[in-house]
């Protein structure tokens, strides 16, 4: 590193006096500008749009709370909301399942590194591809899953044609990469568990589940936190899989808010931008509950440092 000799002009010295104060703002400016234009402003704009009726072609008309009032009686909105809750609850299975696989793989036999990467593999694949894979897997008449149920029960189950099972079928597809994600978080966490504490606990006679619960899990808390955060976000963002696998069908029973919003605002039979924005606002507020919780915990950790 080189320290350049300074020229001592009067301007220079003003800058020198203030540069510590000004530099962070200069460094922040480009990123903050982009972020403000593409994230902060659109959030505000969506709130505003949600009070209008707008087809994207003609001028907007003010409808006040009209869109929200309509949401209240919209059966499809209720279905989407219900499915979002199912997603949230079932998606959480990714956390213990990821932990289970991580514990299973946390060994030092030969070739284990390759096993770990291959188990992690589904996370790298695009959800579009995951969706196509599972559509094939569930396909009526020739899908592997259909054949399997046919062989077991005599009649095949076409998961994605069945309004009761379809959402669960999609969630299963979503869990596949999500479990892989949680697994890798826990594998890294397990790597950093203090060996002396484990040994000490072992000497005290702790083993198996007891050891996991009282000694290991407390040390894995940071990994668990991140796993929960990414899983909640993933569950509420579920758009790709629904779009690829069912398009919300059969008869709208697999809609989730993120998909329904797109459908209302931009799809072939939609183009109600204001109504779509109102759905997005509801989704945002739900997400806000979680975001506030996460950020609050992070702020606390930050202050505690």
């Amino acid at each position: 590193m080189t320290a350049l000799p300074d020229a001592h002009g009067p301007k220079r010295s003003w800058w020198r006096a203030n540069q510590q104060r000004l530099t962070p703002w200069l460094f922040l400016a480009p990123g903050a500008f982009m972020f403000a234009v593409y994230v902060i402003y659109p959030i505000a704009a969506s709130f505003q749009f949600s009070f209008y009726d707008w087809d994207g072609l003609s001028p907007k008309t003010w409808v006040g709370w009209g869109n929200y009032a309509e949401l209240w009686g919209d059966r499809n909105f209720i279905i989407s909301l219900k499915n979002n809750i199912i997603w949230l609850v079932l998606y959480m299975l990714a956390v213990p399942a990821g932990l289970g696989i991580a514990i299973f793989l946390n060994q030092t036999v030969t070739g284990i590194r390759i096993y770990k990467s291959l188990f992690f593999f589904p996370f790298v694949i695009s959800q579009v591809v995951v969706g196509l894979m599972f559509t094939w897997f569930y396909a009526p008449n020739f899908g592997l899953f259909f054949k399997l149920t046919e062989w077991l029960t005599g009649t095949g189950t076409a998961v994605l044609a069945n309004p009761e099972y379809a959402t669960y079928g999609i969630i299963a597809a979503g869990l596949w990469p999500q479990i892989a994600y949680c697994m890798i978080l826990y594998l890294t966490g397990l790597n950093n568990v203090a060996p002396d504490q484990i040994e000490a606990a072992r000497l005290d006679g702790a083993r198996g589940l007891k050891m996991l619960w009282y000694v290991v899990l407390p040390q894995l808390r940071p990994a668990t936190f991140i796993a929960v955060v990414v899983t909640v976000i993933g569950a509420l963002r579920s758009f790709d899989l629904v779009s690829i696998m069912t398009g919300g069908g059969p008869f709208g029973q697999t809609r989730v808010l993120s998909y329904y919003m797109y459908e209302k605002a931009l799809s072939e039979y939609g183009y109600r931008m204001g109504y779509g924005a109102a759905i997005a606002v509801v989704l945002f507020l739900i997400m806000m509950v979680f975001i506030t919780g996460f950020v609050w915990k992070m702020v606390r950790d930050e202050r505690g440092r």
Partner: protein, 281 residues
């Protein structure tokens, strides 16, 4: 170590573990294996009902067909056109913001930092209508720039979180020493901090590459034509043409998944380092 290393257990336990590993892996990757197998089946196999058996002959022409007869190569190219500038842009911007938030103490530091963090969790849908509108008004709808600009802006949230934590963990003495010597602030960034950030830059690049490559939502919202659509959206439209042609769907899926997979296997260490940041403190 938890669980107890298998080497300390009985011979039988070791053997059953060795046997269980590959079985578990095959079950885990079953959908993927099925697709891989289907992708090299000739169309005649599927027509004659050979859905699960081995292909009668490996039909690698399926790959040729999706790439060139159906122009999947164009969508792949589009994906690169969007992904590479985004990676550069997002990483560059977040080096700056991360440095600002990680080295300086000033009023509003934490507030700005958590604004970036929170923005990163926001559902895309709340941004959709305004961003689409903005893009139309800027006259870049259905161009790679539309996606690049948005992705850079949005990824800056995640990348800033990452970079800031990385920089905050660097030894402060280095920076203080340089200041005492009178080194200008931007030079501290350029000559002292940036070289130390190489591992973070590598990790972020790999991660952002994968995120952007796999993006489907924005690709459908901001692009429409075959000349600009990235491969995820392209695959979804081709899927409409390939109904009942699962050998093509499979081959197309595998081709579309390949670049991030290659990236992952080549840069595995960085990838996992990036992903698990914060999981271990």
């Amino acid at each position: 170590m938890f669980p107890r290393p298998i080497a300390q257990r009985s011979q039988a336990a070791q053997w059953s573990y060795a046997a269980l590993l590959p079985i578990a892996l095959i079950l885990w990757l079953l959908p993927l294996l099925g697709i891989a197998m289907t992708s090299i089946k000739p169309a005649s196999d599927l027509a004659s009902g050979n859905y699960f058996g081995l292909p009668t002959h490996p039909a690698f022409e399926n790959y040729w067909s999706v790439l060139f007869d159906f122009d999947l190569w164009r969508y792949i190219r589009n994906s690169f056109v969007v992904t590479i500038p985004t990676v550069i842009g997002a990483v560059a911007l977040s080096c700056l913001t991360g440095f600002a938030l990680g080295t300086y103490r000033f009023k509003g530091n934490l507030l700005i930092f958590f604004l970036f963090v929170a923005g990163n969790f926001v559902p895309f849908q709340i941004l959709m209508v305004p961003v689409r509108d903005l893009t139309l008004r800027m006259g870049i709808y259905d161009t790679p720039q539309a996606l690049i600009l948005f992705h850079i802006a949005f990824q800056t949230g995640f990348c800033t979180l990452f970079m800031r934590n990385f920089i905050a963990a660097l030894p402060r003495e280095l920076i203080e020493a340089a200041r005492v010597e009178g080194v200008a602030e931007w030079q501290i960034f350029w000559h002292i901090v940036l070289p130390l950030m190489k591992p973070a830059i590598a990790a972020l690049s790999v991660l952002v590459f994968t995120f952007i490559w796999n993006d489907f939502f924005w690709a459908t919202v901001l692009t429409t034509s075959a000349d600009t659509r990235p491969v995820t959206a392209g695959l979804s439209s081709l899927n409409g043409q390939w109904v009942a042609a699962w050998h093509l769907v499979s081959a197309g899926s595998i081709v579309a998944a390949l670049p991030p997979v290659a990236m992952f296997f080549l840069m595995q260490k960085h990838f996992i380092a990036g992903l698990t940041l914060g999981a271990v403190k």
